[in-house]
Symmetry: C2
């Protein structure tokens, strides 16, 4: 099967312009199965106020951006994971959504918020879902989640074979260095779709990455260019957790020794 | 402060020869605070039988190897972490021990056993202790533990600032690639002291590594040479878990979302 990403700069506050950009960057001549877009793709990132975040948000059921993605997925018979500024009642979430040829499938809400996101978004409250799309099982994380090894592990334990990771990374190349290791120690594919360009005082670092379950970088994009990249993968590599004939990545775990990971106040 | 390792090949079944080797490799002219030695340093690794593992094991209270390390730590005013084939009553453990200028301090017993180790050793049963030696707080892991992100995280959450990682790595360079990322995502120093050479059908991969809390490789040894390496570090880097003025590596965690990590049967 084939997975890929579009690395580009969504347009802050102009979903129609962003859609035109994506439409120009989806390579209709190259077939793919799964395509990952950056974080907060329908809105842009660097809001000046809650009002700006609110005005650029959309409800999943009533979203110009999602309607566009649905039509594209149907037309090209593909799955798209995208960052999404999600409005739900009075709250906003920094979400990732999964769309397929038959429409909207599901979402993840970012658990670990970065910097000013804490002013605009509520922290994720629907856990770490994994979606079986037939071809494979997909988990989603968003950007700053990368520094928490717990969430990669949980998605892998729940059966995720590909973790799609829409991002607007600004720290210089750190996540892009860590992602192949998260892939290695969890035996999953990871697609980090990062954005480029800048908004206000923030510059984004590109280097979108596809990492294999052996910890190799299948492809890493440039820091600054728009790029649509599609790669062949062997999904069976992510299903096999056997390390040696006597070692298995999961059954060798010692969960009874890991209790501290769930203690709320570790500095007690 | 200064930390380092000795990369060398312990002699299977000949603790006196191993001691002579270490004695020749400890650089007495270069002062260090902490020195890390490879896994199962008192015995060698690739046993042919439980009897061989048993005969080369020692009790902590009655060990030629530990007595040597104690005298060396006293003489040179340093701390040593070493892999140790530990006999306790009728059981063997693949342990790491911590010795200081005033003698024996404590131990860790490898939680995740690799390959035939399962025939010789009992899995660790004393958790993941952290030792405050005044200069800094030390945690220990052994070799194959490297692939389990849970244990690095737990040691960091317990306050470890330096994780000493005696190893006899055979997988080609994977742990050495992962160690800097474990250091980065837990903001700790890591010293992986790997061995070189071969025993029977096993070849060990060297590349002993000192990694910084920013995920950089401060030093990586060769694959095949004996090397004694001492490096200056800034331990305050491992004490600061602040990522941005609004993000902290530990207080941003969402432990209530991590429950799956401690479930015994994740494939339910």
């Amino acid at each position: 099967m084939k997975i890929g990403f579009i690395q580009f700069a969504p347009i802050l506050g102009d979903v129609q312009a962003t859609i035109r950009k994506i439409d120009g960057l989806i390579d209709q001549s190259k077939i793919t199965d799964i395509l990952v877009l950056p974080e907060l793709c329908n809105s842009g990132y660097n809001f000046n106020s809650f009002e700006e975040a609110w005005e650029t948000s959309e409800e999943i059921e009533n979203s110009i951006f999602i309607n566009y993605l649905k039509s594209k997925c149907k037309q090209l018979n593909l799955y798209i994971v995208s960052g999404f500024n999600e409005r739900d009642n009075k709250a906003l979430y920094n979400s990732a959504i999964l769309i397929g040829p038959k429409g909207y499938i599901g979402k993840y809400r970012k658990l670990h918020l970065f910097m000013n996101e804490k002013d605009y978004f509520k922290p994720g409250n629907i856990g770490l879902p994994v979606f079986d799309i037939g071809l494979c099982k997909i988990g989603m994380l968003v950007c700053f989640d990368w520094i928490f090894p717990e969430v990669w592990r949980i998605l892998a334990l729940k059966g995720a074979e590909i973790i799609c990771h829409p991002s607007n990374l600004i720290l210089p190349g750190l996540a892009q260095k860590a992602v192949p290791i998260h892939a290695l120690i969890n035996r999953v594919y990871i697609v980090t779709a990062n954005r480029i360009g800048s908004e206000g005082d923030l510059s984004f670092t590109g280097l979108s990455t596809i990492a294999t379950p052996m910890g190799n970088i299948l492809f890493q994009a440039s820091q600054i260019k728009e790029e649509t990249v599609i790669k062949d993968i062997d999904i069976t590599m992510a299903r096999d957790k056997i390390i040696t004939k006597r070692n298995d990545l999961f059954s060798d775990r010692r969960p009874e020794e890991y209790l501290l990971l769930i203690e709320k106040d570790v500095k007690g």
